[in-house]
């Protein structure tokens, strides 16, 4: 237990809209051990980004709200903290990097100034002390000519360089937890490879835990130690990375893996998941994936399955893995 960085228990994050309210994250549990990478995979609207915003305490207000759950970061419940206390943790002990580095950086300030700002706030350094540290940080993330980059503006850098700057900013206070929300989606493959290499190096060097959110199973294969597969606000499958690729249990995971282009041979038709993600206002009564599932049975349409442990490190939310008796009891 000593070495657990983050524990999330039964997190429920809802949104109010003009058309009614819905739960974008619906009872999510997970934990991240120190120095490990937890990957969350899912399609758009599955609640993976809202999960990360909930941890950061950045759920858009006033429409979004966390209605229940616990987020224990090093034993401290983040949901009980006040906004100023949260600000002390954000960017300091928990850092975040975003998908689009251009929008996350302020275009009118120099790179050096933006990094220095964080150092001033959290490490209480003087402005004059910051510059060498900035250069050191930029060097650490592998930016060429860091002495120059400190005095440049975000628009002068390429997408890959900006993402490196974002990582440098995130690492400036040696965070215990790094939340990366689709950090490489906007980047080209060769740049993506560079950034992923960098993140791996930093993880092993500084023992930072990483919550890695992506839609790309390939990136998961590269990075993650453990994986959550999310669909419609719920965890569908949870296991370690190798098991997920060796023996995926949930039909959704299976379909995601099979629809990857690398798995398809030329001339064959791709395997499709029919239909689309259900609207949050029109959730099926039973399993959220049932309308698209090839294996769905009557019970799937009637009742929501619970996350069931198949082995110590493999949980799945699917009626297939319940015995007949258990199914009967539930009806």
């Amino acid at each position: 237990m000593q070495n657990t960085t983050l524990v999330v228990e039964n997190l429920v994050t809802g949104f109010k809209t003009s058309e009614g309210s819905f739960n974008a994250v619906d009872g999510v549990d997970f934990k991240i051990e120190g120095g490990k990478v937890l990957g969350i995979v899912g399609e758009s609207g599955c609640g993976k980004s809202i999960t990360s915003l909930s941890i950061m305490g950045l759920v858009p207000k006033p429409n979004g709200f966390i209605s229940s759950g616990k987020i224990l970061f090093e034993g401290q419940d983040l949901l009980k903290l006040s906004e100023p206390e949260m600000q002390m943790i954000r960017g300091n002990r928990i850092a975040m990097i975003f998908q689009e580095p251009m929008t996350a950086l302020n275009p009118v300030f120099k790179i050096g100034f933006q990094i220095a700002e964080i150092l001033e706030t959290h490490q209480h350094l003087k402005r004059s002390e910051c510059k060498p540290i900035c250069i050191e940080l930029l060097k650490r993330v592998g930016l060429p000519r860091p002495e120059k980059v400190v005095d440049e503006y975000p628009h002068q850098l390429s997408g890959g360089m900006r993402q490196r700057v974002m990582i440098a900013m995130a690492l400036s206070c040696n965070p215990k937890l790094l939340i990366a929300d689709e950090p490489t989606t906007a980047l080209d493959v060769t740049v993506q490879a560079q950034v992923l290499e960098l993140m791996k190096d930093l993880k092993s060097e500084f023992q930072t835990s990483i919550l890695f959110i992506t839609h790309d199973l390939g990136v998961i294969a590269e990075m993650a130690d453990n994986v959550l597969v999310m669909y419609a606000g719920k965890v569908m499958e949870e296991t370690d990375c190798e098991t997920l690729f060796d023996e995926p249990l949930h039909p959704y995971t299976l379909a995601l893996l099979c629809s990857r282009p690398e798995r398809i041979k030329r001339g064959e038709s791709p395997i499709c998941i029919p239909g689309m993600v259900p609207s949050p206002f029109d959730m099926p009564k039973g399993c959220a994936f049932a309308p698209r599932c090839a294996l769905s049975k009557d019970i799937c349409k009637e009742k929501k399955p619970e996350l069931k442990a198949i082995s110590p490190n493999h949980k799945v939310r699917c009626w297939q893995y319940y015995s007949e008796e258990e199914q009967c009891q539930n009806i």
Binding site: S158, A221, E222, S259, R260, P261, R266, P270
Partner: protein
């Protein structure tokens, strides 16, 4: 000759850079810098490359949506333009040619006019080319929507009522409305969710079989191109650096850039071991001047000749073309 549907020779597109108070032209962004492509009837030609390599501009210049700076294109033996010989089809003929050449766009949210109903969007071309009266055109668009896996009754709805994947199907239906022979698909699935991507790919594949289409498929995703395309061109900074069949390119990549590109694709399994060729530095600006090979500054194998002479696209084996001094000349990579 008739084997090829569309042939492009040395097409270039240079965008002028304006600066100063008098908007003087101070340089050119060479988005497409001499690309030659021959696409056979019924084939899917893939164009891959990273952002900014000019693949989208190539697609648009090829079908004369952007005015070319240089080069020539013939479609079914008919010259669309030939800048060197000052030949260009008349605006009228080009508008007629648009029936045969269509395009599918990347962003399903930006490519449909939000103020028009789906029926109006799909039937717009039919009405414009007077292929049918308005009423019949709407009927035709219902058939097209059904062909693309949507209900025909959707004609009276507006684009904002559909999801990304459905919008892309509407975009495909619009492209098919004029019974085209050739379709340029510019990253048609890049903006879609993983599970929706394969649905759209499957649809494109079925339509190709049913209607005998030819595609130019532009993508940055090597995995999809490998599986979907017959022949592939790899682009870097406005040039094709390697071209070959899907088989040749993926099992025997020759150009150092192709090699590093392939090695950068994420693993398919956590236990897979992959030799990474991490490229150094960034892509140079497409407006800079190159003496030799454009990849020189990032190439791990670069020799002195590479900085001096521009390599030509040579045929190494049948259908497999590479533009590198070190390939095929006995040079070791």
């Amino acid at each position: 000759m008739s084997e090829y549907l569309i042939r492009a020779k040395g097409i270039k597109k240079h965008f002028p850079i304006h600066d100063g108070i008098f908007s003087r032209t101070v340089g050119h962004v060479k988005a497409v810098d001499g690309v030659s492509i021959d696409i056979k009837k019924g084939e899917i030609f893939g164009l891959v490359g990273e952002s900014g390599c000019g693949k989208s501009t190539t697609g648009r210049t090829l079908i004369n949506l952007i005015e070319p700076t240089a080069g020539s294109v013939t479609f079914e033996g008919k010259v669309i333009y030939d800048v060197e010989n000052k030949i260009a089809v008349s605006t009228k003929d080009m508008q007629a040619l648009r029936r045969d050449i269509q395009m599918i766009f990347q962003d399903p949210y930006a490519s449909l006019d939000p103020r028009m109903t789906v029926g109006e969007i799909v039937s717009e071309g039919i009405v414009k080319h007077k292929m049918a009266k308005k009423k019949e055109a709407i009927k035709k668009s219902m058939e097209l929507l059904e062909l693309c896996g949507l209900r025909g009754s959707n004609v009276n709805k507006y684009p904002h009522e559909f999801s990304g994947g459905q919008r892309q199907r509407i975009g495909i239906a619009r492209a098919l409305a004029l019974n085209p022979k050739f379709i340029v698909a510019d990253e048609p699935i890049a903006a879609l969710d993983v599970s929706i991507q394969s649905q759209v790919l499957l649809l494109m594949q079925e339509l190709k079989k049913k209607l005998g289409l030819t595609y130019l498929f532009i993508s940055h995703d090597l995995g999809i191109v490998k599986y979907f395309c017959d022949r592939i061109g790899v682009m870097y900074l406005g040039n094709i650096v390697e071209q070959g069949t899907s088989e040749q390119l993926f099992s025997n990549p020759l150009h150092p850039y192709t090699k590093s590109l392939l090695s950068a694709v994420p693993k398919t399994h956590p236990r897979e071991v992959r030799e990474r060729i991490i490229l150094k530095g960034d892509v140079p600006s497409p407006s800079s001047h190159f003496e030799g090979c454009k990849f020189y500054s990032r190439c791990a194998y670069a020799k002195e000749i590479c900085n001096r002479e521009i390599p030509e696209l040579k045929e190494i084996e049948k259908d497999h073309l590479v533009s590198c001094h070190l390939v095929g000349s006995g040079g070791e990579l």
